[in-house]
Symmetry: D3
Subunit: 126 residues, 6 copies
């Protein structure tokens, strides 16, 4: 099914060669869904959702930092000189969603991850 995604990349400094921005995206989707549901939750679940969101946002940061440091190479940066700034702003946005239950902050995070994904896909082309 997922065979059109060819994850031929790395996330462990070996390198095993497996990287995929979908990992960050899935966690960011989770953040957004929590924000959307927040106002309808009862009190205890509101509390739970705040720290589940915190953890998800931390995972977004983690996955993006790994992409930045471990996947991207100087030649990628040459072709896409905005990599540093984009990754920096996106991880900052992953910090911002922790402080907010407004879905617009989660949507902004997702669209920033999608920008990173576009660059990532481009680097996979031969």
């Amino acid at each position: 099914m997922f065979n059109f995604i060819k994850p031929v990349y790395a996330h462990c400094d070996l390198p095993c060669g497996v990287y995929d921005p979908i990992q960050a995206r899935i966690e960011a989707e989770s953040v957004l869904n929590i924000q959307k549901k927040y106002s309808d939750l009862h009190d205890e679940d509101k509390i739970r959702s705040i720290f589940i969101k915190e953890q998800r946002a931390d995972l977004v940061k983690q996955h993006l930092w790994i992409l930045w440091t471990d996947y991207f190479k100087p030649e990628h940066l040459e072709k896409h000189p905005n990599i540093h700034e984009l990754l920096w702003q996106t991880t900052k946005q992953a910090g911002a969603v922790k402080k907010s239950v407004d879905p617009s902050s989660g949507e902004k995070l997702l669209s920033m991850i999608d920008e990173i994904t576009e660059i990532f896909v481009d680097t996979k082309k031969v």
Copy 2:
């Protein structure tokens, strides 16, 4: 790019509704790549690769257990009565790859995850 994957599912007991077997698959790809590269690594990296593989395999288990307990519902089990057995055997296989550097064990794990993915995709159809 990944818009044909519509991750509308959950992995946090809230539920936030975000689940995706691709998470397990990515970690299993990493296991397989480590197995493929193992024999060519120098001694220290052989050691490193053994415990990186251990951690990746644990993540495979983790993601699959969450799918099993948190995503699959009684109605899914009714339609796919092999869910229990398949998830059990696949998590056992994720344990087996820890003990082996033979890529065939990693390939078997991947094909078992693909079987789970097929069921997962089927449960998403309306």
Copy 3:
């Protein structure tokens, strides 16, 4: 109660051979105690208790998943065909206690773990 369990078993895929359902039970006891004390806590400790309970419930799941995948063997399943269903429902209950501060949900979790323990003890008999 557990005096007939001689813990000579495994929880690490080596296998070291050390497994014991008491690990899940201790965390579930903790969940139940938190639920019992909840209403008397001051506001900040209410918040703390919600996420301590979340972590304890996650540990219950973790310990039970390990028993399910790593300890139980096909021969156990033959004698106790309800292992899959019981472990599935019990880990789902460990998810349910996260959403509730009602001690009855914690008590139900404990009694389900006790059912698993009975099967576990039976598999230890020669």
Copy 4:
């Protein structure tokens, strides 16, 4: 053996009141079993067993530190003035088993944990 321990106690600073030295003992049993099996393992599993043992030993330390700081109270220390020294030496021994595959080091760790358990049980008596 532990049948006189009725685990109605705490390990989370709430306090939920759930403590039990059996948690440390189970991890130490795992360390000992790894040491016993070590010489018969093939190379990759030798490597794995070294870091699984490392993790188990860390869990022993963790559980004992929590008992020391969170469970034991000044009144316990009055009756058992060796608590500080015993817990210190036992956590040091949990460090020592990391450096050794000689089962005698694991056995020594277990007997030290049993000493702690005796004190613990005594503090539970009314």
Copy 5:
């Protein structure tokens, strides 16, 4: 810049020889700052601050436990016989700050860590 701090010490049972009470102090500073800001935070950030404080306090405990078990040696204890009691009380205080948003509890924790640091520095002198 930090060259007047000569970190010639260990935190990993190897031993690598690297220990420094500044690790505990930094986390305790974080606890104190959270307590100082608490009353001015909006509701969601109040919740977040409670569990960030919980994690920071756990790190304080962790760093202090490692100093106690791994760094301090019998000869240190001979010269500073209050090490056991001081470390015990300070880790208990790190538990106490979890239950309080009163900065005085965080300040007390910091001054206790400073006492440990003085002993630590003394053990470094030749």
Copy 6:
């Protein structure tokens, strides 16, 4: 003793305002010491040292990523335009030390962290 270090900074997105590059430095010192001792270790401790080094290097990355995303602000970047490149190369170097037991790689990491520290200190001046 450490009073000349005034940690007035943050590492938790609250922000609590506590940041300090010494955290990364301590872990990097540990990496270097492991590399220096490596050749003299017996076989099992060689294995242990490889994955302890792996964990320490990961902590270096972690602390540096947090500085990059959470501490550094656009105004810092204006004055120190090499922040992106320097942090990128330093986290890459923290990956490189995992693959090597040559102390020169650890020393290079330390000197890169010291460069970051100089910038950090400069941003603290008024």
